[in-house]
Symmetry: C3
């Protein structure tokens, strides 16, 4: 038995959680960081058999890896011309796999 501790961006957490459900992976979602920080992250704890660790990591990668996106800057009605979209890096996941001596559900 292994425990995967995965830290992902808050914006990716919901789709990752749906992917876990769809793949019958029991994941526990811990809290996001500080309420008013937009860069909040979400931690998932996933207990899984050793043989399924790679599947879990693959799903995390698919749903939350860092990637470039173009975002439209906030529009301010100043009469100025429209701002150009800006390229930003979003997402990203940090995963620790640790050995579990015992796993119990009550």
């Amino acid at each position: 038995m292994k425990l995967v501790i995965a830290i992902v961006q808050k914006d990716d957490a919901n789709k990752l959680q749906r992917a876990f459900v769809k793949n019958n992976i029991r994941a526990t979602k811990l809290a996001t960081t500080g309420g008013f920080l937009s860069e909040g992250n979400v931690t998932f704890l996933i207990g899984t058999e050793e043989e399924h660790v790679e599947d879990v990591l693959t799903i995390i990668k698919e749903k939350s890896q860092a990637r470039e996106e173009y975002v439209q800057p906030n529009l301010i009605p100043t009469g100025m011309e429209l701002n150009q979209p800006v390229q930003v890096t979003v997402g990203g996941a940090t995963c620790f796999v640790v050995n579990v001596d015992e796993f119990r559900r009550f």
Copy 2:
């Protein structure tokens, strides 16, 4: 030294915490999930000697295992007859025991 990571329902967290205190078990309570989700959970981190792991797990089981309860549905003053109590599953705990290479308190 072992680390027990226990995830329990928010409603069971306080009585579990009192049981830890009563039994001289040092437990650190982490945050609940999303503010407005009623199904929030609480994570406890408990560092304990290997010989006391079973005691810790027993306390967690006693205070937070899944069980059936009857709840009265919200009463709405519609003039309709009183709703029947509804059986729901409450509680439940997920516990991971991992080995600790080093434990330090500063």
Copy 3:
């Protein structure tokens, strides 16, 4: 690879986080406990090579160990004489070092 799970007092979290940044230590800050509890704590997850574990622990100790401080009690305009400063214990850190089978960043 090791995972250091460090639980520190909320008041020490910011300076500890700055020390991690200054020392090129990647730390993930998890959420504090219950919003309105002033005694909230903060959990850091730090993935680090085995050879740097002691450095990480030293930084945590330096920035967040328990110590005595004198605090001025809240002043209440009652016309009574000024309260004496009160000695309180602040800070404190609990650290678990666990072995990491695999570490992945996506």
